[in-house]
């Protein structure tokens, strides 16, 4: 750790103490309370957002918490801040504080019935808040969709880069395979297209068949992943990174040469099947499946392969099967994310899945932190919101984002949340006021500090 970091840490300790004091009253608020408060804030925004925004001198409701308005028109900084304070922060603070007892009781009852019921209740509140928030404008809806797709991509890359400890650069390739696989199917089957011909099936069937096409797209990506998985038996680390990089270039070049699928001009006309609900369900499914996967015996085997392949082998871990499973599994989810992305943007070309995409995906994983499901979620959402919020800077956006990421890497080289196990039960549990949650929770067996 350099000297600069130390002095900065000292300077910030005062601020930290102040923040901790301000946080004190919100300690006993359970997750349910937060979600309910957010839902209420969003309802308030839908009800009185526009008049409040007008009264504060803005033409319409700020799309992304006022960031865009602040950057576009610095004169409106105060009204944007005031808006965020009035519509989001104050209601959330009030509701959480007032509903502490009720929220704790309800959360306790829910978790008393079953964890599944409790998670479903939390998710439905979250979904309601997200649905109402993104109902305000198409732009918000797009940001929400992109953020959720980014979560799937980041989680699947974290399986390989974090849990298995490789530096895989092939993810844009897997996404491309999934995107093309799913779009070719939907466009051939349900859309009249110049390139791929008349619709073969009635379009009304489309939305029901969409999950199947996504799964087929994921399977195509998984088959492609064999190209990277098989060399991984013999080599690791840097050379595997190059193999995966070569794979990415090969996939991109392959689609540039496949004139059947539009070649370099790309493939358009994807039907509008990827609604907010569909993507939300897929994202939840992905988080659930990947979280269970990494906490299973197979997930522990991944960590064992990362920390010492020979030792793992000696301890009866089948390293080949482990590596193969991890690559195919990650590629499947990357393919699903690619398929969803194709149906959100409704146009893909080989350039979509190039070096820039790779830089984005890697940045999201390392921003969030390796070996942590929660980290990936935070990293993906944080990166997407940041890159949308900085959009008014136009070209300077791509200077600001890298600078921010470099600073983050210098001051927090492992990312925001790294090497933490994600246990939904812990979040769903009610928090009692007497129970002090400030001390860090006991480390589970899977937690591993990087060394």
């Amino acid at each position: 750790m350099s000297v600069a970091t130390q002095t900065l840490a000292n300077r910030w300790s005062g601020l930290r103490a102040w923040l901790a004091r301000a946080w004190q009253p919100f300690r006993p608020v359970p997750l349910l309370g937060w979600l309910a408060a957010i839902l209420i804030a969003v309802i308030i925004e839908r009800a009185v957002g526009t008049p409040v925004a007008r009264a504060l001198g803005m033409s319409k409701v700020p799309a992304l918490f006022g960031f865009i308005i602040m950057l576009k028109n610095p004169g409106l900084v105060f009204s944007a801040l005031l808006y965020v304070l009035l519509i989001y922060l104050l209601p959330i603070a009030l509701v959480t504080r007032l509903s502490v007892r009720a929220a704790n009781q309800i959360a306790g009852k829910l978790i008393g019935y079953s964890v599944t019921l409790s998670s479903l209740a939390h998710l439905s509140v979250l979904y309601a808040a997200l649905f109402l928030w993104s109902g305000e404008s198409d732009y918000r809806q797009l940001v929400a969709k992109l953020a959720m797709i980014a979560i799937i991509t980041t989680l699947s890359l974290n399986v390989v880069n974090g849990y298995m400890g490789e530096f895989s650069c092939s993810h844009p390739g897997f996404m491309a395979l999934g995107a093309y696989g799913a779009s070719v199917l939907t466009v051939t089957l349900f859309v009249d297209d110049n390139l791929l011909g008349q619709a073969l099936l009635p379009p009304a069937l489309g939305p029901f068949m969409f999950p199947i096409t996504l799964i087929i797209g994921g399977a195509v990506a998984a088959v492609g992943a064999l190209v990277v998985a098989i060399p991984s038996f013999r080599t690791r680390g840097d050379y595997l990174a190059i193999i995966s990089l070569a794979f990415m270039f090969i996939v991109k070049s392959l689609f540039e040469n496949l004139e059947v699928f539009g070649g370099p001009r790309g493939l358009a006309n994807q039907p509008n099947y990827a609604s907010l609900t569909t993507i939300f369900l897929w994202t939840i499914a992905c988080i659930w499946v990947i979280n269970n996967f990494v906490r299973s015996t197979m997930g522990k085997a991944l960590n064992a392969v990362r920390d010492g392949e020979m030792a793992a082998d000696a301890m009866t871990v089948n390293t080949r099967r482990t590596k193969m499973t991890a690559f195919l599994f990650a590629a499947f989810w990357a393919g699903v994310a690619g398929g969803l992305l194709a149906h959100v943007i409704r146009y893909i070309n080989p350039d979509t899945f190039g070096i820039r995409k790779l830089a984005e995906v890697l940045a999201m994983v390392y921003l969030g932190g390796l070996n942590a499901v929660a980290g990936s979620i935070v990293g993906a959402v944080g990166f997407v919101v940041m890159s949308e919020a900085l959009r008014p800077l136009e070209i300077l956006k791509w200077i600001m984002i890298p600078v921010l990421l470099i600073l983050l890497m210098i001051f927090r080289p492992t990312g925001l949340i790294a090497f933490k196990e994600f246990e939904p039960e812990k979040f769903l549990r009610p928090k009692v006021e007497s129970n002090d949650q400030a001390s860090s929770p006991p480390k589970t067996a899977g937690d591993r500090q990087q060394g």
Binding site: G165, P231, I242, I250, I395, V403, L405, M409
Partner: protein, 311 residues
């Protein structure tokens, strides 16, 4: 046969760009065990520095006070451009090291790779922002003349580029093998835990490594400007990533390996473009690299992978 030798000449020229860039990757990778993902863009910056230096020298007319034939004057301008651009780009490389990599010396390697990627994006975008999107054309510093040997057309540019590239690679090889600094670099590549204890400063060696690599990248940039006189901010990504693959293909830290792999990549690309449709170039080139790495995973001259991963 004609066709073969004609393409061979083209392949040698393209290969020398790849080899010069690959050397920069290979040096950093060999000494610091680090992917310098920003190197492709350092090459791009080098080309632009070369462009500005050459234009400035021509505009100032430094050599016009002497009465010289045009070709000699242009040759002097070219030499001066190369020297100045090498020095300036070495400073660019050292700045990148100081800002992006030194603070992360103790961090996981992947974090440093991310900083490298981000610095690359900053360099590209910064260039786009400062100079706009229009392409610049490099001043003509060698007047083209064609020599025909046995029916094969060679331009003097090609001969100059290939010969000077090989000379620079040899110079680098000698520097690494014979000089004191080169010995320090090799020692660092061997073990960067113990060697700093012997009084070799890792920071100085890192700066030197980046300076050498960036200087070579500047030469590659100027040569690229001479051969294909159009510069744009994304040339670094187009060539750099391929050169990166070539560097690793050569084997960890192997100068000879990186140079050979660079030339090999040039050959594969030129000959696939000559035989198949040119859009298939990347597909076939990377396909061949994938096959080579599958059967020889540690590259041409690298030792089998044994080091403990520091991820």
């Amino acid at each position: 046969m004609h066709f073969f030798f004609q393409q061979l000449a083209n392949a040698l020229q393209l290969g020398s760009f790849y080899a010069l860039i690959a050397l920069g990757y290979s040096l950093v990778y060999g000494v610091l065990m680090l992917f310098n993902f920003a190197h492709g863009d350092i090459f791009m910056v080098g080309a632009f520095i070369g462009f500005f230096v050459a234009t400035a020298i021509l505009a100032l007319g430094i050599f016009e006070i002497f009465v010289l034939p045009t070709w000699l004057m242009l040759a002097l301008v070219l030499l001066l451009t190369i020297v100045i651009a090498m020095i300036l780009n070495a400073f660019v490389g050292m700045t990148v090291e100081r800002i992006g990599y030194r603070p992360l010396r103790q961090a996981p390697r992947a974090s440093a790779a991310i900083t490298g990627l981000m610095i690359g994006i900053i360099l590209e975008t910064g260039n786009l922002w400062l100079l706009g999107a229009e392409r610049l054309s490099f001043p003509e510093l060698i007047q083209t003349s064609t020599i025909t040997i046995g029916g094969v057309n060679l331009t003097n540019k090609k001969i100059f580029i290939v010969l000077l590239s090989i000379a620079l690679m040899l110079a680098l090889h000698l520097f690494i093998r014979r000089s004191k600094w080169g010995r320090a670099m090799r020692a660092m590549a061997y073990d960067f835990v113990v060697v700093p204890l012997m009084g070799v400063s890792i920071n100085r060696i890192a700066l030197l490594t980046f300076a050498l690599g960036s200087a070579l990248a500047a030469v590659a940039g100027i040569f690229f400007g001479i051969a294909y006189p159009v510069l744009d901010p994304y040339m670094g990504i187009r060539l750099g990533w391929k050169a990166f693959v070539a560097a690793i293909l050569g084997g960890r830290g192997s100068i000879l390996g990186a140079a050979l792999a660079g030339f090999l990549l040039g050959f594969i690309e030129i000959f696939t473009a000559a035989i198949f449709p040119s859009t298939m170039r990347d597909l076939i080139a990377f396909g061949i690299i994938l096959i080579i790495l599958t059967f020889r995973p540690h590259g041409f001259f690298g030792e089998p992978y044994s080091a403990q991963l520091r991820l």
